[in-house]
Symmetry: D3
Subunit: 227 residues, 6 copies
């Protein structure tokens, strides 16, 4: 894990049909469906409002100030992939811009999640190429030191294996391991079915206190109402 | 103060007419009208551009990772309230989403100010439910530990008593204690009357140096012009 | 350098024709054209998407919580200037709002870059007065302590001399020293000419690995492809 | 509250005997005894290991970059006071150094808690004058703008009224409101009596799981042991 | 991975003899010996200078503000373990103090690495119980929500499996996967053997430029010496 | 300025006798003597308490994650120099450890100021080699990309020219331009002579209010004493 200087060519991607089902949910729903795990840290923000992406992870391990491995990753892309780039150190340099986005899109990528900085964000927004990043920075990078492609990486606090499903929207980024992707999609669907009814009740003025039957546990916990 | 496990049912809200007057001003103007106090820290940002809210505070003290008390607070809401949620520790979890927003709105809330995270921000923006928060995060929370409702709280560095006026816009959040709300509205009105004239003079090219008569005090302070 | 209490009246501004040429490029391109130097730190963000400014620097050195010198700076402005305000300490107070923007614009300013906070951002966005800042804050400032105008300053990590070219867009802020502005504009033009061709090749599916002839250096560096 | 330009001369200090009792406990114990409230944020750190102070609060509200009010506060000090200085904005300037420490000590102060920076820390450590601060910085401050003395302040997230008990050690700073100081000292004593016995049991190898009878609630919560 | 509500009882610990060999090296050396990977982020600092620990990881996944699982973990400890505690959200609460340290030591623990806060740090330093943490905070925690014990966790950016070797000193924390521990110890020994000779040469005034034969690659890279 | 790939061999160092005079003062005193300018940001901390250094700057511009230029700098050192290393991006990697310290000391260096990370801090403390840094990190760096040596750099917010005097102690780091070093030493001496008398008066209970004649300006500013 984390070995430097490696490109893994053959990875097992999560099933396309399952990816497509997960694409229909929001990040918060899928995170809940997984049992409240799998999120990246909230420092990861979309570069434009309304950005959304769902795909299979091609992972990249970058060195600070060096985007060489993003070019290596481009060759490994298949249609429907999302590139997930971690870095061996916290670094906000602009590893990625509109040229790489053009290349990634031509190779089939649905978007980029990068624990670093990006640039040309105006162009990226116009291209509708969605990116989630730690920072926006025009700072250029070099191509001098090896990292890896398609090794497991820790990106913004989340472990990502190549082929995992990565879902990202305005709320952040969630990673669904390939082998629980189908189960998670089922749970997300169940959860969402549930929500429409709840929403209607709450809109009608019903209290969560009653809908979720919280009054008794609150009393047991010692909640006191005073005037 | 800060006692845990308490819900205060009857609070003295600032006068509605005064709240409506304050709603007509910007946060910066009201902060100045109070004598340059009352602001929350600038980490508190609206979840969409143009968000604006003004109302009477229903306060909540949360525990990290736990949104139980937001449900308790819903029952205490009256039309025209703004929920102000502090937390016993710095925490960016997603305490609040579209279901709670639906409930809060149904109970009369004008918006939420939370020293924590929120999720479902796309839905919240579409609902035009304004929220100011420290973070956006899909991270789910539990309902296990008591906090309080309608106790005085420190939210993002500002002391808020239940019933105080809370005004929030793109510039941030200001808290006006209920008993100086009327006086503050008067001062804000006076200040704003003043501004139109100043703006016209500055637009015509007059310098602040002359308009504010700064040249003499600058000279006394020792300012030197060199070539 | 950094002396307090000084206003330099006569500064050598970069040539207007060169400024206009640089205005046609993006920040990332100009930063690359300078040899990957000259950027401010990425904490400097535009207050609205799509903000863009290019002009000659009138520099200001502020004291924390004090905007007196911005008024002094207004008098030194010429058409086509960008105000660059540094501060003797990290401070997010709202040094600048719509009144000062009205004055700056009337005096010819193209925008503001400030290592501090700004307020009235809604009004500034409506005025289309572009600002790059460390923070948005309604916090008022005093007019009590001297700083300087048109001395060299360090703003968000970048050294800025009065008269330098300052270019800012969604990617951040770059500073081009006046005496290399022409050379930099040439290099930027060369770089951009180059980019259209690269973009077309990448869009057609060509890999950066081949276009930039990276395969051999990657192999020499020891990159291993595994299955 | 927070009014600027005020010095309150007569404040009600917590009872000396109670302060002395509280001085015998650690910050963590007193925080627990208050029901897990009253702490300042952990950014407040002592300037040397082993610093400890307990006394009655004389509060100061500072402006960023301005230490004028610390001089005003010196006159209000009585033997056994701890100065608690908040600031109207986040600011790390060196508001306090060895000269002010000499003055504060001569007037009876036991230490300083400041949501800002301090300097001369080597001298302060040699004088054994304990300080808890957000930062260490040599940056000088001016004496130009009014704040207040002995008004309620929010310091590092905690509300402090003049006369409250302030206890600080290597774990941080806790504020005990004057009117619950005696009750809190009792609760702290009860808690500590309890701890010696617990410590002995744990040292002998007993598990908290058994000592605190956690096995049943863990099982109820659904904890699963797997091989 | 990351599943909540699980305690794994039987884990495969790295070989004791290898752990003991690794304990003889510094964190920087072992990190280099692994190929420059395996470090936690530098926010993890020892609570006292000179702290050092090396052992096999018992991992804990905590919820913010909740230390219940540390008690569960105590039962799983064996002599020579180091507890590694991650949290589902960034949180600085004081999850750990002298009572838990007493228990952990009695059960054989060599230290604690926690992506959160600790308290009673004076006592811990006197006990010589080494802890590396994100923060020091007196803030108390509850025992209400399940996390997990001995599941793989991401702690301060590093992936840790139960049984991995954890080495920590003044430079930070490194994680050595159990199955490469022996190989890593060999590489660290080779590296260290090498260093004594280098140190002697450098102390005698030899330049790294010559010792590492850097002059030619620097020239090739284009380095220019000017007067 | 900031040009990459340059080593300037001949620099004009501040006069040795003046450097020695400045070495007798603290950072805070020298910063005041310069007119309250010249400080690096307070993020720069010594790696051990009591560290002190004063010397002439040999400057280095590093790339993130790359310490090649520190080796290049070693050759340019003369007895009495302090190395000042800036970085083109914020980066906390461990650029410097005990081997480089051995080399730097052998070449005459008095210490290091680095806007980045260092490692082997235990060894450095034992060697009494003083370092001020942004972080402590075991993270290794590569030797692949050119920066510069002895160009002007911005380090932690301060502009440093090669040959400037750099003074660092527990309060932080101050930079004195070579051409005002003598004048600054005079001003520092005058300031310090002054301080002994002030300290004695304050120790005797005299108030700063009276010693600095602040009562009248405070009254003019509108300070109100209330009961």
């Amino acid at each position: 894990m984390y070995e430097l200087g490696i490109v893994k060519r053959h990875i097992r991607r999560a099933d396309r049909a399952v990816v497509d089902r997960l694409a229909g949910f929001g990040v918060a729903t899928v995170h809940e469906a997984m049992g409240r795990v799998g999120l990246m840290q909230p420092v990861m923000r979309p570069i434009y409002p309304g950005a959304k992406a769902c795909g299979t992870a091609v992972t990249v391990l970058l060195q600070p100030g060096d985007n060489w491995m993003l070019h290596v990753a481009a060759e490994q892309l298949q249609s429907g992939d999302v590139v997930v780039a971690a870095c061996t150190a916290e670094n906000t340099d602009g590893f990625f811009g509109d040229l790489l986005a053009t290349s990634f899109r031509a190779r089939g990528a649905m978007g980029l999640v990068i624990d670093g900085g990006v640039r040309d964000v105006r162009d990226l927004a116009e291209m509708k190429f969605p990116v989630w990043s730690r920072a926006i920075s025009a700072k250029g990078t070099v191509k001098a030191t090896l990292g890896s492609v398609n090794v497991p990486v820790v990106c913004a606090g989340a472990l990502v294996h190549p082929g995992d499903v990565v879902l990202a929207d305005d709320d952040g980024v969630v990673v669904v391991p390939a082998d629980i992707a189908a189960k998670t999609a089922d749970a997300a669907a169940a959860r969402e079915a549930n929500e429409a009814d709840k929403r209607a009740k709450l809109a009608a003025g019903m209290l969560g206190l009653d809908m979720y039957k919280m009054r008794e546990p609150l009393e047991k916990a010692g909640l006191r109402y005073v005037d």
